[in-house]
Amino acid sequence: MIINNPGGKSYDLIVVGGGHAGCEAALASARMGNSTLLATINIRDIARMPCNPAIGGLAKGQLVREIDALGGEMGLCIDAAGIQFKMLNRAKGPAVWSPRAQADKAVYHEKMLEALSSEEGLDIFEGEVEGIAVEEGRVTGVTISGERIRGKKAVLALGTFPNGLMHIGERKIPGGREGEPPSCLLSDDLAANGIERARLKTGTPARLKRSSIDFSRCQEQPGDISPVPFSFRTKKLNLDQISCYITYTNVETHDIIRKNIDRAPLFSGQIMGTGPRYCPSIEDKVIRFSGRDRHQIFLEPEGRGSEEIYINGLSTSLPVDIQEKMIRTVAGLEDSEIVRYGYAIEYDFFPPHQIHASLESRKIEGLYFAGQVNGTSGYEEAAAQGIVAGINASLSLRGEPPFLPGRHQAYAGVMVDDLITKEIDEPYRMFTSRAEHRLLLRQDNADERLFRYAVRYGLLEKGLWSEMISRKKRVMKAKRRLHREVIPAERINSLLENEGAPPATEARKAIQIARRPEIGVEKLEAILDGGGLGLGERELDMLGIEIKYDGYIARQKKMAHKLLKMDKMTIPDGFSFEIEALSREAREKLGRFRPETLGQASRISGVRNSDLSILMIFIEKLKKESKNSGRRGMNFR
């Protein structure tokens, strides 16, 4: 419910920032029964997408599935706001499929606002938070317009706003993003409270007027014929899909950029923060990969009825006159009109070695950080952290241990673990290659991985969980049947003939036939004894995956199990890494990141196997000593 004045009120949890992280945090908190306040600078910008009009994508799609499996909102919103759906990597194995959808930005915002407003126990207030209140090392509330609002816990999800500074060519404009003011007071207040901060940078391309583009000179890119929804709770998608278009830069475009490179803030030294290497500006690409004479561009609509087209691949902070010239050299864009210019933005983030895996600050109890403020970039990355922070703040209020998904359980787990063990020297984005147990972390099985937590925490109904279990049971039963059933050669050949494959000479187990890439489960059903398997479409897919990855999944589980042992070995609170025997680099890194388990320590770069053995020895010694002395000098979790 939107409120006008929170003054004098007291909340269980206050969420600062109505971006993708903040929305999920606030919803999770309210759904877990806490009185919650969501304070944000502008209500009309809640869940705004300041960059590309899309949700999901490689690895990000998996994150959305996880958020959904935890009872989050992002999947439902994009199912309602999507205008084009695609399952990426379909040509590859199902372990790396990722859903992606073009979004109608306005609808996405409306849907999220609807969900927030109708959530019981959730107040929404428009206003800028200027500072946090801290008593005895623990957060007790926030201040807005000089007034104190009490809160037992707080989540900071400030996005690119802390000391945001936008660059367009030589022009510098303070702002959180286009058309919005920065948030400077809060960032300075955090610094005053001893929170370390640093600068990062990101950028966005210009937007063009739809009617000014000649799409006939571009290549059309339609959506999937049968679109797959993001949410496990959406039964079916019914929509007319809208196409995107592909075009390319050319030698002429690159010439213009090269000639004016001294006017690009990135190269003139005007921008100090580091940008992402995976999402470079066009000037970056032209200079670094000078051998290429074209770069791909996607033209994506910002909404169903929107007149704005997003130029994916042409992010830039060149001056406006150069942007114009450069864009007009591209096929299809010769007569295009720019409705917004591209810009870069620099902002403060709070290096995440300062948080626990629960996202709670190590310095200030009860204060959680989520989203861009932790050095990540991307809506999905932010939302995933938001829901984790919301859940953990709520669990802490209940006095329960935090929700810490492991690297083998969720991309969200991989991300958080990376954040607290790796140096963030560019905005962090999710990639599937960051997950060493990728075959376990599929978009299709996020429910199997995470429903149980959502149900336990009260974020999803139990019914969904039981449905999932019986689905899984049916699939495993079918698999056992395929292991048992033997099919005579003639019947196998009735299938193989159609595929033009050499005939079989003897009977085979059904499972062996199903493994053949040219056959698969669906076709196999036709020749089974006693008819088909009686599985639904989704279940058949699940069975196909079970069969395809059979041995590999087992191998990954084994490997994950091995690594898990290290993660179970905790490093006591307040452990001193000033151990002379450690290598200098390890001592320095361990002192900075202060890992809480040996597993975390092992993932910090510069920490060698030998350093780990030393740590192990010292921890064992310490544990023995504190046991012998009969008192617990240290805290063992």
Partner: protein, 455 residues
């Protein structure tokens, strides 16, 4: 490493001209101060002459002392080396004094272990040091030295890098499939994987030679009594080690000595002669000899060439004929036409040598034959060129090969990139076991440095 200081004798025990006592750890310099009755100043890597005394004031010896301050020492800790006069009494007194002053006795390999834990050397180098210390031949020392200088780590590092590149290509096609990037073809991937497999296999192949180089080769001399086994044994050793006598059954126990051929160490074993005997000790000796022959890398089956075969010898020979062996026809000097040839068992497939232990005729070529029958002709060359891996290395390398073969199998089949990626990650993991290094973090760096990413 955990704050303790250790002390040990670093030169071989026993009387010698000088002996070196070494201490390592935070307390090493302090202990030295107390023994030398002066607190430094010890400049690192400089030699000082001092008189060491016991705590009760009694002098021990006049010695040369070098302090190597952390981290520029072998172990990475403070190291003190004391060169004293090489009498057992003197070096024992120094060690006792150090122990009295708080040092602990160093376990075997402790200094090297410390160096490894301090990150001064990687695992392959630590192993090389152990090899170097026990090296007896030039070849052994050379292979160890090269490994110490990191040749094995470098070689593995290169393969790791190539695997990582392959992985980057696969990951690129997964994580950046929407980008306008030229992907690498199946054929290229396959060729690269095959090259890597080949290289790994070559390294694994060196294990057998490596094992022989490190552990030595066992050669057992077997045959009937009085054939001249002990005489040949002595001739090969170049010294009278075994008692030779015309009395049959002189040798009863198993004798073992070392000889070096072509840079390799051979353990030569003399056994009790085979034949019917009433003597319990001799019977036991015979069975010990047979047992030794079972595990030997090579058997020298000796018979008296002038006497020829009897049933017993023939039966015995047939038992071992399937094993790596050389039939040695001894006593060539006795001039008998060596008509054994015609008695020669049909099963004989191995080589035969005609020698005279008495005159020394044929002994030199027997040595050569022993070498040829136990190591490949070009073994020394190969080892010098490529090094020789240990069994631990080979096991890890085999895991890596299996994983890379998994990639090739997948390329021949469905070509699923996510599965190939898993295999390569496992291969890299396996190689990391050899060097103790992990390369996980380098993948994305490699991708971004090589490809234009970002639509």
């Amino acid at each position: 490493m955990d704050g303790t200081t250790v002390v040990a004798l670093s030169t071989p025990p026993g009387e010698s001209a000088i002996a070196v006592v070494r201490m390592s750890g935070t307390g090493a310099v302090d202990i030295l101060d107390r023994m030398a009755g002066a607190s430094g100043p010890w400049e690192s890597h400089k030699v000082y002459r001092k008189i060491l005394k016991k705590a009760d004031g009694g002098p021990i010896d006049e010695v040369l002392v070098t302090v190597m301050s952390a981290p520029d020492s072998y172990t990475g800790e403070d190291v003190v080396e004391i060169s004293c006069h090489g009498s057992v009494h003197i070096y024992s007194s120094i060690i006792e004094e150090a122990l009295y002053l708080g040092a602990h006795p160093a376990g075997p390999g402790e200094f090297t272990k410390r160096a490894y834990l301090k990150g001064k050397i990687d695992l392959t180098q630590a192993e090389a040091i152990a090899d170097l210390i026990s090296a007896e031949t030039q070849l052994q020392a050379r292979v160890a030295l090269e490994q110490l200088e990191g040749s094995l780590s470098k070689k593995i590092g290169k393969i790791e890098k190539r695997l990582l590149e392959e992985l980057a290509l696969l990951e690129l096609s997964i994580d950046f499939s929407e980008e306008d990037i030229e992907l690498c073809s199946r054929d290229t991937l396959r060729k690269r994987s095959e090259e890597i497999t080949e290289e790994l296999k070559q390294m694994i192949d060196s294990e057998i030679t490596g094992k022989k180089l490190r552990n030595g080769i066992r050669v057992t001399v077997l045959g009937p009594r009085n054939a001249g086994k002990s005489s040949i044994y002595n001739a090969l050793l170049g010294e009278e080690r075994a008692i030779v006598s015309a009395v049959p059954g002189t040798t009863r126990d198993l004798l073992r000595e070392r000889i070096h051929i072509g840079g390799f160490t051979y353990y030569l074993e003399d056994t009790a002669g085979i034949g019917q005997t009433e003597c319990e000790i001799e019977t036991k000796g015979i069975s010990i000899g047979r047992k030794a022959a079972e595990g030997a890398d090579l058997i020298l089956f000796v018979i008296d060439g002038s006497a020829g075969w009897d049933d017993e010898s023939r039966k015995e020979f047939e038992k071992i004929a399937g094993k790596n062996h050389i039939l040695v026809l001894n006593k060539k000097d006795l001039g008998a036409d060596i008509s054994c040839e015609k008695y020669r068992p049909k099963t004989l497939s191995g080589s035969a040598a005609e020698v005279s232990a008495k005159t020394g005729e044929g002994i030199q070529s027997l040595r050569k034959m022993i070498y040829k029958k136990t190591v490949r002709d070009d073994a020394a060359e190969i080892v010098k060129e490529r090094g020789a891996v240990s069994s631990r290395h080979a096991a890890a390398l085999r895991e890596a090969v299996d994983a890379v073969k998994g990639v090739i199998a997948e390329l021949e089949g469905a070509g699923a990139v996510e599965i190939m990626s898993l295999e390569i990650r496992e291969a890299i993991e396996a190689l990391g076991k050899v060097t103790g290094r992990s390369v996980a973090g380098e993948l994305l760096d490699l991708i971004f440095s090589r490809f234009c990413i970002g639509k």
